[in-house]
Point group: C2
Chain length 738, copies 2
């Protein structure tokens, strides 16, 4: 497709049978040998079928592709393959696309030594505007009726996958794979799998939250606090602030108890194990799908250089694998550029940290200002107001910074001159992921692990830039964390979904306008290639994966603070899945099908997050929650927790009280002289022991699961061997002896 | 080979060229396509070569096999393979053995449905006495001289590998692989690699030990103790024992300091990282060798049932892979048998534990008895004498129990009816490994982690079966652990090596006598098959691996206690390697070459041990060593450690002192009323924090190494791709378009 002086010229390519056969063998495409009875691929439908219950999730999708034993195609054994008598249907449309793309990608258009070859470079240089496979017709459904025409594959996908009302049905993954290829299908399989796993987490999380609502009113320490009246005068929260009564924070503490009670401990443990189990089962699911789709042994052995690399490479050199001359960039220079790139990443991280400190100072100053206001209600809620506004400002900055950074990372990674697309993507992913995780997680991490720990004690407060370090507001830091989390996570999701819904529409509309303004006025029916050309180019799955992985981090790492996180994630994903499906079916050009064995580097990132989540939950429970002090008090002093409130409050040092003419209490385990008390050390030992036990138990369980649950399910293993056996028989040449 | 009425009949089998070709393709044997310049396979020789230094480890071994690119053999492409013009040398001798064995193993001798097939069943039923490939001539070297004949491969191995004087040379691994196959070669490669890695550990360990020797005399607390005279009267060690002076244990404490000083901390950290690095690099080395030997993609797809399984299986059933009828044992019955087996394993473990408790009681009673003896020297060393005799008794029992158990485990695993040899071996390995690790490690673990922790305090001692719980003797438990370790580890090695040296000789001599007595008196020269028949059957590598893996456990798990462990391991392995080599070359029948990709389940066991080692070192340093209390004292009280001794000793409760008319001290951080002091809790928090930091740092470093060091070295990765590319070219059939 080419435009010259405004007019768009289209070229429709097709490939003859012999060429198809040649390249199918060259590309090691797998083709069917023998059909086998189709089985339900997910356990829920298997379970329901065994119990004889109707399955509301099941959807009757037409044209179900059969399950087959397949093997690498060999022209010489053509007759042994299933369906080889019909040359029109033997190769699927995605396989044809792959073959055409392979031919186009390899064809030289200039001097081959200079790496002038392939459609991608021509596209990059603007010789062609676009190159894409055609969609299989329009996606709009024909009017229903008794003699309605057969739906085309795109319509099938639209009707049974991309429509909102399909929200409670299984995805027709085999169809998605047949239309978009394995890589896209694996993304949707993963997203669906993740969403399904979020369901139990969301249910348990909501129950835990509701349990918290009931427990608030039966909690002895909270009641003691609310009924304490003038019992506890607390030390001032800033240099010139007044003394205050603990009972004035009653409501806040009650709200705080919603997020911080015994159930949270159970839920954190549950979620840590949930994450481990989720990954284990995804491994099995991924292997099953890869086998089912014939890519379990797919590995890209001879990846071509990226077109941008080939165009910009300064020299050529022999490829050690093929022995041919190809564009070359010295690894030492690349290493130097990568070092320079890392420095830039560090600088961007530093920007985030500086911003975080600014937010902290702002919050401290705000709290002081508001608390001095004459309005008493406002004063009591001062820190809450300050932190809520902060969270919102934080979110806005995070979203802005992430836009800037993704653009920067793309530039930087191009400049690093990675030879292959895979290497490029890995480097890009790593950069963006590191930055985005610092960007999104730094302020929750600060609140969870640092805030309120370096306060000092009355008369000896620690300061940062002359401002007293923040204390956790009444109700504990966990509540603040929950608030921060909800604002960032839910806010991000809302912004993202709005973007994903609106942006393609706007861009699609803009693209249409632009093209139509340029081209002649179109009259009547469009050719399919014209219609497809007006769609948006497909942009890959990077952004989608990144968003989901960051969400997975929120759901697992900070779950101790907010049992509602899985619920919000679940709601988001229900929307997200169909939004993405619509994008692929309706709004984007059809991408060239790509093969893939699994979700690649994202799996390792998920595994790292899971590890982090276990650590983070352990520390949150041990240090930020008051679960352990309560258990300690219950065990050693009073099983009803009577007097617990008094137990947690230290007396201000006599010098401080004398200087202010007023004695006061503050939350800490300290002696009257400000030294840590024996109880503090005793509790600290218990907290640390809890961390050790929690980590070891969860990791051991994870490790045992890893051993017990095979990476490749047994049934799949047998099928793989059966397929190997059949393939060997089908392709055997030495029949001399048998 | 068959005996009838005493006489032994031999049958020599050989295979014609066409059959070789047919089976080579069927077995997916890899054969050479193209030679490539040979490179040094270990980094030390590469480094020395680059520095231009002579390499004393290098040995000029004749008939060095060339390094080649190879691919799966196809009869139709015979001409493309290297050396296919010479039918006598095209297939190596190990490949011929594999092919013959494959034919023999598959040939039915009765009704095939009943699984009556294969040489292994005939051997199991005693139809044949033995079936083995012949050695390539005698191993004895011909007299040297100018016109000495060319050495045969067995002589080459004997001269350049199995002789004691080769102890400082590289092993000729390519030759070993060429003669015994990849599985055996990988064992020796691993053993050599491990031994080489022990060298730096042994050097550092010895240096740390020597440093300890010097530090003893400059250590303030030890000097204070030795010069304390009557300063510290200690509480009695048993119910009716006398009070004793702390200064009387001066020598013991000095000895104890050898094993327990600042250097030990560094060394433990070093060894934890050493173990992690060792495994990482072995992965790379293993991948390199597997590639070099053409088994990197070897996987046994259609493993045959074990002959013992086929003989004992009650029914037949369709094999889901091949679709053929074969012997079958219901998985549910197997599962039940495995459960029963596990119970037996647990019972045997219980026996070990009971025995451990018996040893502990014996030691406590012995210590009391000896300490009451009028001889003062004897009394002072009483606990030392008791524990030394215990260690020896312990060792004897351990060795006896392990013999009993291995026999039992073999019976049990047979009874569990595992279908394939691999499953059988895995089950057997798991059983034996679990039992042996409990057997060997339980008493060191008791001493390291439990002994002396549940003593109580004067007036409130805890008891076990009425006997006061053991305290750590003066000098600390680390010293006892070091002693236990040296006795068990070194004792076991001595016993084992003596066994390995003497047993084959005795058994070989016995076998010869028996055979000669049966057969006719032999006169003059023996035929090669007669000579080989007189050798011992090859018994596999299980025992060898097990011994080494247990040693690896001693070296890594308890290294904090005994920096000399790596040195003893190194010395043992130098002997072990050549003993094993001699066994294979001189004393055993040649085994059928087996292919293998790596060392299999042992790698996972090593990885588990490495994990355990990190935990164990963390706890040993935190709780058994006095490194942290010293650091704490240095930091908070006196940087010269003056008064540290007094700091560690608590005063007996006044009631106890009054009852005995004598006040006394005891080692603990307790108040005068027996409660744990603030220092105790403070220190406990520090200890736990140390554990957490140590574990996280070491595991993070290990994880980072895992990411940074690729599992398959880059050079090997490129070679694999190059080989794949060449193979594709060589085997391509569809040249229609090119």
């Amino acid at each position: 497709m080419r435009t010259e002086a405004g007019a768009v010229h289209y070229q429709l390519l097709s490939v003859p049978w012999t060429v198809l056969c040649y390249y199918a063998e060259d590309l090691c495409l797998k083709l069917p040998l023998q059909e086998l009875p189709s089985q339900a691929s997910n356990w829920s439908s298997r379970l329901l079928a065994r119990l004889g219950l109707p399955n509301p999730l099941l959807d009757e999708v037409p044209d179900m592709p059969p399950e087959v034993y397949s093997c690498q195609f060999k022209v010489s054994k053509l007759a042994r393959f299933l369906g080889s008598d019909n040359q029109d249907t033997f190769f699927s449309s995605t396989q044809r696309h792959q073959i055409i793309f392979e031919i186009l990608a390899k064809t030289p258009y200039g001097h081959e030594r200079k790496g002038l070859l392939g459609i991608e470079q021509l596209l990059a240089q603007g010789v062609f505007r676009a190159a894409f496979p055609l969609h299989d017709g329009p996606f709009k459904l024909p009017p229903e009726g008794p003699q309605a025409p057969r739906l085309n594959p795109r319509q099938v996908l639209f009707r049974h996958w991309a429509q909102w009302r399909q929200w409670h049905k299984y995805q027709p993954l085999d169809h998605v794979r047949g239309y978009f290829g394995e890589k896209v299908a694996l993304y949707f399989a993963w997203l669906g799998f993740y969403t399904a796993w979020l369901l139990p987490a969301a249910v348990v999380g909501t129950l835990v939250f509701l349990a918290g609502c009931f427990l608030v009113f039966s909690d002895t320490p909270t009641q003691e606090l609310c009924h304490s009246g003038d019992g506890f005068w607390m030390c001032p929260l800033c240099a010139n602030c007044p003394f205050w009564k603990l009972s004035s924070t009653c409501t806040l503490v009650q709200v705080g108890r919603l997020f911080n009670h015994g159930g949270t401990v159970l839920f954190s443990t549950f979620m840590a194990l949930w994450a481990v189990l989720f990954l284990e089962h995804w491994k099995g699911q991924s292997a099953t799908l890869a086998y089912r789709w014939g890519c379990s042994d797919y590995e890209d052995m001879e990846e071509r250089p990226r077109p941008q690399f080939a165009a910009a490479a300064p020299t050529t050199s022999l490829n050690p694998i093929t022995g041919q001359d190809e564009p070359y960039f010295p690894p030492t220079s690349r290493f130097r550029r990568m070092l320079a790139g890392s420095v830039l990443v560090l600088m961007m991280v530093a920007v985030v940290v500086v911003f975080l400190v600014a937010i902290i100072l702002y919050r401290a100053i705000m709290a002081v200002l508001v608390s001095r206001s004459p309005n008493t209600v406002l004063a009591a809620w001062s820190s809450r107001i300050a932190s809520l506004t902060c969270s919102v400002i934080n979110l806005v900055f995070i979203l802005l910074l992430s836009k800037v950074y993704v653009a920067l990372a793309r530039l930087l990674t191009s400049w690093e001159m990675h030879r292959t697309q895979t290497k490029f993507e890995d480097a890009f992913t790593l950069k963006v992921f590191i930055f985005q995780s610092v960007n999104f997680y730094s302020s929750p991490i600060y609140i969870a692990f640092f805030k309120g720990r370096f306060v000092g004690y009355p008369g000896n407060y620690h300061t940062l830039f002359g401002i007293r370090n923040e204390e956790c507001a009444a109700g504990g830091c966990l509540m603040e964390l929950a608030q921060e989390l909800l604002v960032i996570m839910v806010g991000k999701q809302l912004v993202n979904n709005a973007q994903e819904l609106l942006c393609p529409k706007l861009r699609g509309w803009w693209q249409k306008c632009r093209l139509r303004a340029k081209g002649a006025a179109l009259t009547g029916a469009q050719e399919p290639w014209e219609a497809d050309y007006e769609l948006l180019p497909c942009e890959g799955l990077f952004e989608e994966y990144l968003e989901m992985v960051l969400q997975f981090g929120f759901v697992t790492i900070f779950v101790a603070a907010c049992p509602l996180a899985p619920l919000f994630a679940l709601l988001n994903n229900w929307v997200e899945l169909r939004v993405d499906a619509r994008k692929f079916v309706c709004q984007c050009r059809r991408p060239v099908a790509e093969r893939a064995q699994d979700i690649g580097v994202w799996f390792h990132i998920l595994a790292a997050i899971t590890h982090l989540a276990v650590l983070s939950n352990a520390y949150l429970l041990a240090f930020s929650s008051d679960f352990l002090p309560r258990a300690f008090y219950r065990w050693t002093r009073d099983s009803q927790l009577r007097g617990f409130l008094n137990f947690t409050l230290a007396h201000a040092p006599p010098t401080f009280a004398a200087a202010h003419n007023h004695t006061c209490r503050y939350e800490a385990f300290r002696e009257d002289d400000g030294q840590f008390s024996r109880t503090f050390w005793n509790l600290l030992a218990i907290r640390l022991a809890f961390v050790i036990v929690f980590e070891h138990v969860v990791f051991s369980v994870g490790w045992a699961l890893d051993l017990l649950v095979p990476d490749v399910p047994e049934a799949v293993g047998i099928k793989v061997k059966r397929e190997y056996y059949l393939a060997k028989q089908a392709l055997a040449e030495n029949e001399a002896l048998s």
